[in-house]
C-alpha cells in the first residue's frame, strides 16, 4: 500500500494561506495527528517562524526550541508529531538536495509550490529505508 497523508480541506487551505502570505519567502510549519501503519491523519497544524538567517526565498529553518515545543505539545495533546510543511516559491513541489540532506525518517514533508497569487500544487514525501524520498498520496477530505 502506498503511504498516504489524510488532511481535511480547511487545514490544507490554512497551510496554503500561510504559504501565500509568506511569499516570496518560504514558509514552514508542523502538523500533528494520528499515524496508523502507512497512513497519517492530520488533525492540527502549527505555522512557525522561518528562522533561517539570510535568503528566506530559498531556504527555511526551524529554531530548535520550536522543535522541542512541538515534541512537548504532541505528548500533552496525546497526538503524534507527524511532519513538516514548507513552500517552494516559484519552484516545483519536489524535495531539493537541501531538503534531502536534512530530512529525517518517519516525518512526512508536505511541499507547496506557490506563486505570488496561487498555490500551484501540493505534494507530500517521506524517506524510505534507502534514505530516498518517496512520494505519498495526499487524501483531501
Amino acid at each position: 500500500m502506498k503511504k498516504q497523508v489524510i488532511v481535511d480541506q480547511e487545514t490544507l487551505a490554512s497551510m496554503h494561506r500561510h504559504a501565500l502570505s509568506d511569499f516570496p519567502n518560504e514558509c514552514v510549519g508542523f502538523f500533528f495527528g494520528e499515524a496508523n501503519g502507512e497512513s497519517k491523519r492530520i488533525k492540527e497544524y502549527t505555522p512557525l517562524e522561518n528562522s533561517k538567517e539570510g535568503d528566506q526565498r530559498r531556504r527555511f529553518e526551524v529554531h530548535p526550541k520550536d522543535y522541542m515545543a512541538a515534541e512537548k505539545y504532541a505528548v500533552e495533546s496525546d497526538q503524534k508529531f507527524l511532519g513538516v510543511y514548507h513552500s517552494h516559491p516559484e519552484h516545483p513541489a519536489e524535495p531539493s538536495v537541501h531538503d534531502l540532506a536534512q530530512a529525517v525518517p518517519f516525518f512526512s514533508y508536505i511541499i507547496a509550490s506557490v506563486s505570488e497569487t496561487k498555490v500551484q500544487n501540493t505534494r507530500s514525501w517521506q524517506l524510505n529505508d534507502q534514505n530516498e524520498f518517496e512520494e505519498e498520496d495526499i487524501i483531501n477530505e
Binding site: F60, P64, H98, V104
Partner: protein, 92 residues
C-alpha cells in the same frame, strides 16, 4: 539517572520510547550509553568519525550544549537531554 528525550523520527530505533534513562557524567557518555542500549540509534546520531552529526542539535534542559561545554557538558541525575534533528531545507 539522566533522561534523554528521543525525537519522534528516531523513536523507531528505540523501541518507540519517547525517553530513555541513561548513565553518564557528561553529554558524550550519556549518549554513548543510549546507543549502547539501542545500537540502531548509532548511525542516526553519530557520523562516520564518531562525532554527533552536523544536523543534530543537543540541548541540556533549555540550553544548546554549544553554548555550554559541548559534548563535555556535565550531566547530573535530574538532567534532561534533548536530541533535536535540524528541520531545515529549501528549494535550493
Amino acid at each position: 539517572m539522566a533522561e534523554i528525550i528521543i525525537p519522534t523520527p528516531l523513536r523507531k530505533f528505540a523501541q518507540d520510547q519517547a525517553s530513555i534513562k541513561v548513565e553518564g557524567s557528561d553529554v558524550q557518555s550519556a549518549i554513548e550509553d543510549l546507543v549502547k542500549q539501542f545500537p540502531d540509534l548509532e548511525k542516526q546520531i553519530f557520523d562516520a568519525d564518531g562525532k554527533i552529526k552536523r544536523f543534530i542539535r543537543i540541548y541540556k534542559g533549555e540550553e544548546d550544549i554549544e553554548s555550554l561545554d559541548n559534548e563535555k557538558t556535565a550531566v547530573e541525575a535530574e538532567t534532561i537531554i534533548s536530541i533535536i534533528p535540524a528541520i531545515a531545507g529549501g528549494r535550493g
